[in-house]
């Protein structure tokens, strides 16, 4: 006897595919959606294209740095550029982001220097940027934990009494399909719902939680989970930067005006490995990757720009050159990152002096100094 665990999973024959909000087809054709009108200028579209190309290039550079031993590990965003740039460019100055460890493109939108992202993966720190400065919280590695932080932060915004005013900020929590199985994510949904917190839950369903496919996490489309918690959920084409922008804008605005949470499921695909230590050939078919390649988030924007005569070859070359230049700079800066000083281990554990930190730091300093003395003696 086998256990049929995939009954009712999306894609099962006889089960209708849910509605996918899409404004730009994989072929680069613009389509309208009654709930998400979007009027972008040629310059705005070119800016989105530039973002997409740059973040992909930075990501590829980080993968290369890992292959060469300069980073310990890297979680590639390949394939998810549109979901991240679309939602990231929907953000306003007062909004706050709570990322996982894969939101490199959202970090780009929040002006977090790409080099800052490498620190964690190179092992020179565990994060190290100021979340308040960027409206972009630290990367969270444990799956789903940040959704509760985001919900609490949103409850704080609510208590500040700014919702509905120009200084209102929404909170957006990023997580993946695997995270939806975590207790913390479900608790975050409950808290956000009963307190009507001004938050957007942005789930990038990239179909794979390391080696586990979506049907190991859910028997229903993820966006439908929202209904059980009592707030709206919708599914957007995660490879469509226009749709991700429009959908996130609306969800953020609903949050800022006190209309509570929204779950956005950005339907996308992790084109690369989970991280550089993973091997997808052990658990998924090449054909699946090939099928998703045809839905590439960057190619469709390029097709749209070309088809509508909005950009010429010079523009595309210029973006490519700029991206290459940034990647080169990033590589050089990465190699120049200094290792942390041994005694820095004790810094930043507590805000106020702590006798044990002082004691151990002094003992370790004396121990290290004892070798210097030997050096002098010899």
């Amino acid at each position: 006897m086998t256990i049929d665990s995939v009954r009712g999973a999306p894609g099962t024959p006889g089960v209708a595919e849910p509605e996918l909000i899409q404004l730009l087809t994989p072929e680069g054709e613009r389509v309208e959606h009654p709930d998400y009108p979007l009027d972008l200028s040629a310059e705005e579209i070119k800016a989105l294209y530039r973002d997409l190309v740059i973040v992909r290039k930075i990501d590829l550079e980080a993968v290369a740095l890992t292959r060469q031993g300069e980073l310990g590990i890297w979680a590639s965003l390949l394939g998810q550029e549109a979901a991240q740039i679309g939602s990231g460019r929907a953000l306003g100055a007062h909004d706050m982001v709570f990322p996982t460890y894969r939101e490199h493109a959202v970090a780009w939108c929040r002006n977090v220097e790409p080099l800052k992202l490498l620190g964690l993966f190179r092992g020179v720190n565990h994060g190290g940027w100021d979340p308040a400065e960027h409206g972009f919280h630290l990367y969270t590695i444990v799956i789903g934990s940040q959704t509760l932080h985001a919900t609490g932060y949103a409850m704080g915004v609510q208590r500040d009494g700014v919702l509905g005013t120009p200084s209102a900020g929404a909170t957006i929590a990023y997580f993946g399909d695997g995270a939806t199985s975590q207790g913390d994510v479900n608790e975050a949904f409950v808290f956000a719902s009963v307190f009507n917190a001004p938050i957007v839950f942005f789930c990038q369903n990239n179909q794979w939680a390391i080696s586990e496919p979506l049907e190991r996490q859910s028997r229903i489309p993820l966006y439908k989970r929202a209904q059980g918690y009592g707030f709206p959920g919708l599914r957007v084409d995660g490879n469509d930067v226009f749709a991700c922008l429009a959908v996130t804008r609306k969800a953020l605005e609903n949050a800022r005006t006190g209309q509570g949470p929204t779950l956005v499921e950005a339907y996308t695909y992790r084109m690369g490995a989970h991280t550089t230590t993973d091997d997808p050939t052990r658990y998924r078919l090449k054909a699946e990757e090939e099928a998703w390649k045809l839905k590439d988030p960057i190619e469709r924007v390029k097709a749209y720009l070309v088809r509508n005569d909005l950009a010429d070859a010079g523009f595309f070359e210029g973006v490519e050159d700029e991206a290459k230049g940034l990647a080169k700079e990033l590589r050089a800066a990465c190699l120049a990152l200094p290792d942390p000083r041994p005694l820095s281990i004790f810094e930043h554990v507590y805000a106020e002096p702590h006798p044990l930190m002082t004691e151990e730091q002094e003992q370790f300093a004396a121990y290290l100094a004892s070798f210097e003395d030997e050096g002098v003696a010899s």
Binding site: G127, E133, L148, G152, V157
Partner: protein
């Protein structure tokens, strides 16, 4: 001085009220802390006076309580979370250990999380399983947390206010079977012992007994009984477990040469082991006997009809004191 005779529970309530009056960013959150005032009534009346936005009845999800408290702290609030009983803290352990304790280091000092986690702890109230535990060692072992335990109404009143004022996360243990103990509390005073200082609560000459939380009173009773037999016991209320005021402990043990540690938690791998090791390192040549530990047995907390046998009582403490003199 405005002295009021308060139970430990009421002193906690008065301290929380002072902190909320002083700083509008202080929030109280947890299960049943609002209308009900908490199962031990520690937050009684706070929601009525400070409103539902500041005294929050949360959904029944401990990880959610601590996780959202972290988010509120990131937004500039100072949440005081109530975990209803010691045995219920474990669903929140991940948020406490993995997130709350480590966020400051992760941010290279950019982020402070002034979150207080109040945990009624210990046994002796005839409760069902999971309502009588002493989980302090899990938290003292976690760098990034401060861990304190009050033993009496005076300290309850001051220590909760000091903990709320701390920019670091504090795990605050309350001795639940002492909630009804009374003492005169100066409710207008602010001239308090520093939060992380231990206190000699009874001076003595022959042996030092270290305790915290609910065990302090038992140790004082033991010292009183021993005095009748001509044995002088010094009792130190540690009050703070992390950081530990080892100086006060060492000063005492160097005088007495003997030490017994008392706590309700199981002895094996318990906080007493850390005390014994540190005392041995610092007082080795002054010790007349090994540091002995009296605590719960290395079993799960037993059913309440037999808990009096499990908890260190006056006789077991005095038995350990006698044994230190047998060396």
């Amino acid at each position: 001085m405005t002295a009021e005779t308060l139970t430990l529970g009421k002193a906690m309530n008065a301290g929380l009220r002072k902190a909320m009056e002083k700083d509008p960013k202080v929030l109280v959150m947890g299960e049943d802390v609002g209308k009900l005032g908490g199962v031990f009534r520690v937050t009684d009346g706070l929601q009525k006076d400070f409103g539902e936005e500041r005294v929050i009845d949360t959904p029944l999800a401990e990880s959610g309580i601590i996780g959202t408290a972290i988010g509120l702290a990131l937004r500039g609030y100072r949440p005081v979370c109530e975990i209803q009983f010691d045995g219920f803290v474990f669903p929140a352990a991940d948020q406490i250990i993995t997130q709350l304790a480590k966020m400051r280091m992760r941010s290279l000092g950019a982020v402070s999380l002034p979150v207080v986690i109040r945990i009624p702890c210990g046994g002796g109230i005839g409760a069902v399983e999971h309502h009588s535990e002493s989980p302090e060692a899990y938290f003292t072992h976690t760098a990034g947390l401060r861990v304190v335990a009050c033993s009496n109404p005076v300290d309850a009143f001051s220590m909760i206010q000091q903990s709320i004022a701390s920019p670091d996360p504090v795990v605050f243990f309350e001795p639940k079977r002492r909630y009804w103990e009374r003492a005169d509390v100066d409710v207008d005073g602010t001239d308090w012992t520093p939060l992380h200082d231990a206190k000699v609560v009874r001076a003595g000459e022959h042996v030092t007994v270290l305790a915290y939380g609910p065990s302090v009173k038992t140790c004082l009773e033991a010292a009183e009984a021993a005095a009748g037999e001509g044995r002088s016991i010094e009792v130190i209320d540690l009050r703070s477990l992390n950081p530990l005021d080892i100086g006060t402990v060492v000063e005492s043990v160097e005088r007495t040469g003997r030490c017994v540690v008392v706590h309700e938690a199981p002895v094996f791998g318990g906080f007493g082991a850390e005390l014994a090791a540190r005392i041995t390192e610092r007082c080795f040549y002054r010790l007349e006997a090994p540091v002995l530990r009296v605590g719960g047995f290395s079993t799960p907390y037993p059913p309440s009809r037999v808990e009096d046998q499990y908890l260190p009582d006056l006789d077991r403490i005095l038995d350990a004191v006698d044994r230190t003199f047998a060396w």
